[in-house]
């Protein structure tokens, strides 16, 4: 029961991370390996504003959102569009964007290390709380609640707004989207920016209950990628299920065997997905 509840709470935040990456990969077609650093940047902002100005992380989420949105939009426009233009095919774009985002990831880590080289340790809403006989920290519960709300808003935006409709159209088929008058470049930039924004917001939430440091981003990138692949690229429902599965399995391994093996557990899941369901949990075989 402990595992179920803690796993679910962890999974809630993973959903948010995966949604961010899904927008960037599924719509803008950029495999963003600097996504984890966006999470860590959010965490750093949450930590830093709390320590220096005692601004609640829950407020920081909304302070950082527009900045992350603008930053990611600029990154897409200035750094990634040239690669999209240059690439002759999807394969070339994939290689280029992987290398470029690796570069960005290292640059961001380098900058963050020079800003704050130690752990982002702070205590926020750390009081214990009992639900269904399980004791969880209040901050985890609050983070979960915020993750659900943000995820829900994102879902509503994608499914019930004009812009969201355009985003989904580009994700399904950029060529056809162009035919019905959608500005694919603009929508891709929008999706990339929103994706980065969601990741940064998730980062602030995570910082309230997990102690991070500047170099931990790559682990989050890995996890987000595993979730996205397990859920199926562009499939939000799949991502939610996958995130909860990953959250539960990690929690189970950490409590039952050894916290040092969570990455190995994530790998095991990844391997199973690659072997048996490479198109995602609910995915159909590619045509």
């Amino acid at each position: 029961m402990d595992i179920l509840i803690s796993g679910l709470l962890l999974g809630g935040t993973y959903v948010l991370i995966a949604m961010g990456l899904n927008l960037q990969y599924g719509v803008a077609r950029i495999m963003n390996l600097a996504n984890g650093e966006m999470i860590v940047l959010g965490a750093l902002a949450g930590f830093w504003l709390y320590m220096t100005a005692t601004i609640s992380p829950l407020l920081t989420i909304f302070l950082i959102a527009p900045i992350a949105f603008a930053g990611n939009w600029l990154v897409y426009r200035l750094l990634l569009v040239p690669l999209v233009r240059r690439a002759g095919n999807q394969g070339q774009l994939e290689v280029d964007s992987i290398l470029a985002t690796f570069g960005m990831s290292f640059v961001l880590v380098g900058i963050m290390v020079s800003l704050h080289g130690e752990y982002f340790t702070y205590s926020f809403l750390a009081s214990p709380l009992s639900i269904l006989g399980t004791t969880v920290a209040l901050n985890r519960l609050v983070a979960f609640g915020f993750a659900v709300v943000i995820g829900l808003i994102l879902y509503l935006w994608l499914n019930h707004s004009r812009a969201g409709m355009a985003v989904r159209a580009v994700s399904v088929d950029p060529a056809s989207a162009r035919l019905v008058g959608i500005d694919v470049g603009k929508v891709s930039a929008l999706a990339f920016a929103v994706g980065g924004m969601v990741s940064a917001m998730a980062g602030v939430l995570i910082s309230t209950f997990i102690t991070l440091d500047a170099s931990v981003g790559v682990i989050f990138t890995m996890k987000a990628l595993i979730i996205v692949i397990m859920g199926g690229v562009g499939d939000i429902r799949g991502a939610i299920v996958a995130a909860v599965i990953l959250g539960m399995v990690e929690t189970a391994v950490a409590t039952l065997i050894d916290p040092g093996l969570t990455l190995a557990a994530a790998y095991l899941i990844f391997l199973l997905v690659l072997l048996f369901k490479p198109q995602g949990l609910f995915g159909r075989a590619p045509v």
Partner: protein
């Protein structure tokens, strides 16, 4: 045929010159030459697979770590000889690469990159866990009589073997198949190429060579722990150096390794806090300004002077 003889001769002369380095210098510069030689073997072998296929492998660190760790465990805990453990490590890494290849190389390149991205870290976690829980957490000692010069010559031998292997691949059906796969995988399948097998075999060769290098380097550290040998950073350095030099020529990575090793050394000494930032800038520079590496630049220059 004369062209082939000539390139073999040039290769032999280069190896002979490189072999003389320990007679000219020792101490600091030899240790730098040793590091460079290690990366020459690793990057060239990496490029043999990743150059034509465009699959970016970040597994070098994992295979390198397997090499170092198995040598250390075998010598420290089981009293085995260095040579036997070097052989065992190479075989284990080759088999592991085969398994990883079979699982991921039939899918798109993205899955492969992601899988190799965390591989070194994951194996390190596993190894630490096994060591802490079942073997007792002691450090492992690799005690040999090897001097830096010995290690350097062994690395040179591996590097020469990589070049010879690459030279041979380039003239074989396997190499031609790889070139076709890199151009158009669908066509490759429909002209009768077993694309999965071709990629897996080449990927296994990178595992083999990286583990050899890791095994040979182990005596240099004498004291080994998982955190030291399973370094994710190494994987990235191998990729950067190969791309900087250029992956579409056998000797391309060599051109990247030599300057990069020197710069990296300088940065590590003078501004050690900026190594990560520098790594990032190097990646960005390559992608945006020298996508075909130094070899690409040279070829462009030659083209211009001819035209």
């Amino acid at each position: 045929m004369t062209g082939e003889v000539r390139s073999l001769l040039i290769g032999a002369v280069c190896v002979a010159l490189a072999a003389a380095v320990p007679y000219v210098t020792d101490g600091y510069w030899l240790s730098i030459a040793l590091t460079a030689m290690m990366y020459i073997a690793l990057s060239t072998s990496w490029a043999l697979f990743s150059g034509p296929t465009h699959y970016i492998s970040l597994a070098s660190g994992a295979f390198f770590g397997i090499g170092g760790y198995l040598v250390a465990t075998g010598m420290s805990d089981y009293n085995q000889s260095f040579w036997l453990m070097m052989f065992v490590a190479a075989v284990v890494a080759t088999l592991l690469a085969g398994l990883i290849g079979l699982a991921t190389l039939r899918l798109s390149g993205v899955y492969f990159v992601i899988f190799t991205l965390g591989l070194a870290e994951m194996i390190r976690n596993l190894v630490s866990w096994v060591q802490n829980n079942f073997l007792g957490s002691r450090g492992l000692y690799v005690l040999t009589d090897f001097t830096d010069a010995h290690i350097y010559w062994m690395l040179l031998a591996v590097a020469a073997a990589v070049f010879l292997f690459g030279w041979f691949i380039d003239r074989s059906r396997l190499g031609f198949a790889l070139k076709i796969i890199g151009n158009e995988e669908t066509v490759a399948r429909h002209v009768g190429i077993n694309t999965a097998w071709t990629k897996v075999v080449l990927f296994m060769s990178t595992g083999f060579f990286a583990a050899l290098v890791g095994a040979i380097i182990a005596p240099r550290y004498s004291y080994i722990e998982p955190n030291l040998v399973f370094s994710p950073e190494l994987s990235f350095l191998v990729v950067i150096m190969a791309l900087l030099g250029g992956t579409h020529r056998l000797w391309g990575p060599l051109l990247g390794v030599i300057p990069f090793t020197l710069i990296w050394e300088a940065i590590s000494i003078w501004v050690p806090n900026f190594t990560t930032l520098f790594l990032g800038l190097a990646f960005l520079t390559i992608v945006y300004f020298i996508p075909n590496g130094f070899v690409g630049l040279l070829e462009k220059l030659r083209h211009r002077s001819v035209a």
